[in-house]
Point group: C3
Chain length 318, copies 3
């Protein structure tokens, strides 16, 4: 592994693997580039030739139609050729190793791999084996990182709050299993947010999360009080089956975002969620559709951030 | 719901949801536009930039590789970016509501949704919730409507018969469960066809179908006599399992299009079928492949009609 | 069937169905054309407009994400519109016949069908029914032929060995069930390779394979001695279930390519494999990753060969 797995010698972004370890100026450069793509959707022709003739491979070892589609849209709007590999049906299911699959696709002149994988670290492993002209973007690996989600969350916060340096951000829900939470926490810390709270039950927000630099709150009212930003995480059904949670309705009773609870936050607080939302579980419909919700703008920032990341890494030399 | 769910204030086509309620001049405008695309397949380069930089989303909640492919071809030939969503695997299977899925895709700057759904009315629901610049095309909803099939059938009939005003059209088979039959009947009536016959057994062609403006015939010979156009419908296997039909071979014996029966129609009658055909059930192979069959030209008209519909709605203002 | 199912009257390639029966000059023309595409991957913009506005349909009746992707890449780099049909879900599963499916796709103005099918001969059947302006490329049919694999293997051998006329080529493994072996053997023979050996156990390399013009060797050491080229075939797990092979580890003990065995071949011998490889079965990892292995260059030649074949057939008149 090189000194920094994501940056080249000049400190430029070669791969996007995690928000952890990314310097503040790199985060800001991605966000500023994405900002330039934000008016893009209103254009008559939503296409620029920045990646024309480049080959982007979507390698989704874990299903995610939504995230895959956002990368496909971003790549197509940059005029790249996009190839979606149906991994469940492919050679990996014939016993081929991950690195053999990657080596084969490289031989087909891939330029960028967008990788989602159930195993934490898989995109790092790939990045450490590709040649210099090939780039890797992590689209979510295990419980580890989901850096484009982290970045789009930062874009959203900056858009509505301008300045990170005086914010209180409350992340509510299953923090311990959430790659979104982890990517948000690293980015928020790097961008100088003074108070990040991890809010949820002890099974999902253990005390040792403090080592990530967050304040652990098991009480929802304490967690939300005077927050500027509230990020609700998606509750994974698997957790309930695993006994870490009694039921969706009990979670909602204890930690669900209701209008009453939201009133504890600042009046101009924004409500975020990585989607897809479970109405009546993580938040009430009146909150999801209410004036403080910025959940749909998050989606719009997501396309712009992915366009920014793809166009930046594609132009970073070794 | 607005006064007319498919048209804007100037009477132009914003969404294509059903042939029902579409004025004659709108039907003719689509058909005339499609006619302009009919020579397209013979060109060296089968592409025009009419939808360049537009994003078309194929949302097929019900599987149909064939219909999805025709829309994909039509959109690509108009130079659109096409995204096929694998709905079975997507967020809707994670409990997200239909309207939340649509709102998310809108935030990704969708221009057109092509929707197939098992529930009648789903494309109307979507059309009533999208913003002004987004357009919905119904690719088949429940038993309700399949308007592009209806329109391509009208194109086919006009091509071979020129004038609608003196025709007898016999639709044979499972009328009551057929969205194709319904879309055909509404279009034929609007275009001034004086006699439309619904031909089949009482379980599939109940007497109250008369309220659609058709003549109900339970006798195949009476139904075919002197017809100018014979439209055979696909027999769905599900109907037989449901007890509405004894067996495929019995259906063929009673209502299958044989050369003998076809002789009852006019000598220049054309035979149509929405495909895929069941040889030896709805029609004999000698009829399907015979000189009166226009089943493959229907497919060709289908691409042109879908190009016409996509290019028309994309350019209709609110 | 015409006199020659693959060539037009001028001896030019209309369809690529098999390497069997292809004249030497046609093989060389494909390889020379492919050579011109070999530097393509290094270009800034990996795209030429040779097939712009043409419609290529990938019809994979048998799953093969890898081969389908190589054709998709080749077609996209030629600027074609590519449509992947999900055959498992399509009309053929509704009982439509293969030729009806093809006729329907032709009516959608298909230019090229890339066909993989479990039944030997299916691409020939299709080629004998398409109109003059439509072309068929066999992407693997049953145990019969896999001509683009055969051609990329010839490209690879020519690249490393220059001259075919003094070579000894050893093909090791399950020859009798391998369409790759069959396509290689026909091409090698036509290109004038004096000695082609079929190496493996009697169950997989029966004596009557001699009629293909190969020398049958049941002894691996005898098979490899002084070979210039060693082609290891993929061992299909199905064969072991069928009782033709005791186990993967027993195969490896008897016929696996180890460094020791490879020393029997010429010092500059190359090692090839169609992929995906089973490490420790057909070959040791040290051989697969060693200096004599040209397995990844084969993949690169594969894209160039498929670009060559698609662009040649598309421009061949009837």
């Amino acid at each position: 592994m090189p000194a920094h797995p994501q940056l080249n010698r000049n400190g430029e972004l070669r791969h996007l693997l995690s928000t952890e370890g990314l310097p503040r100026d790199v985060l800001l450069h991605i966000m500023d580039t994405a900002q330039g793509f934000m008016s893009f959707g209103e254009r008559e022709v939503k296409k620029v030739p920045l990646l024309r003739g480049k080959s982007v491979f979507n390698l989704f070892f874990e299903n995610s139609t939504r995230t895959r589609t956002t990368f496909e849209i971003a790549a197509q709007r940059l005029s790249a050729d996009v190839f979606n590999l149906d991994i469940q049906r492919s050679s990996t299911s014939k016993g081929e190793s991950l690195l053999d699959t990657i080596a084969n696709l490289e031989a087909m002149d891939a330029d960028i791999f967008v990788v989602r994988h159930g195993q934490s670290g898989a995109p790092f492993l790939i990045a450490s084996h590709v040649p210099r002209h090939v780039h890797v973007v992590n689209a979510g690996d295990g419980r580890h990182a989901h850096p484009t989600q982290g970045l789009l969350d930062m874009m959203t916060i900056r858009h509505y709050k301008r300045d990170f340096s005086a914010l209180t951000v409350a992340i509510v829900g299953d923090i311990v299993h959430s790659r979104v939470a982890r990517s948000d926490i690293h980015a928020l810390t790097t961008l100088g947010v003074p108070e990040v709270r991890a809010v949820g039950p002890k099974t999902l927000v253990p005390a040792d999360l403090q080592q990530l630099g967050v304040r652990v709150c098991h009480d929802i009212e304490q967690g939300l009080r005077d927050a500027d930003v509230v990020i609700a995480l998606r509750l994974q059904n698997e957790r309930m089956a695993g006994g870490l949670l009694p039921s969706a309705s009990e979670f909602h009773m204890m930690y669900g975002l209701t209008p009453d609870r939201l009133r504890l936050a600042r009046r101009d607080a924004i409500v975020m969620h990585p989607g897809p939302i479970n109405r009546g579980v993580e938040l009430d419909s009146s909150v999801a559709d209410g004036p403080q919700s910025v959940i749909l703008p998050q989606v719009r920032f997501g396309i712009a951030v992915r366009m920014a990341v793809l166009s930046i890494v594609a132009n970073t030399g070794a």
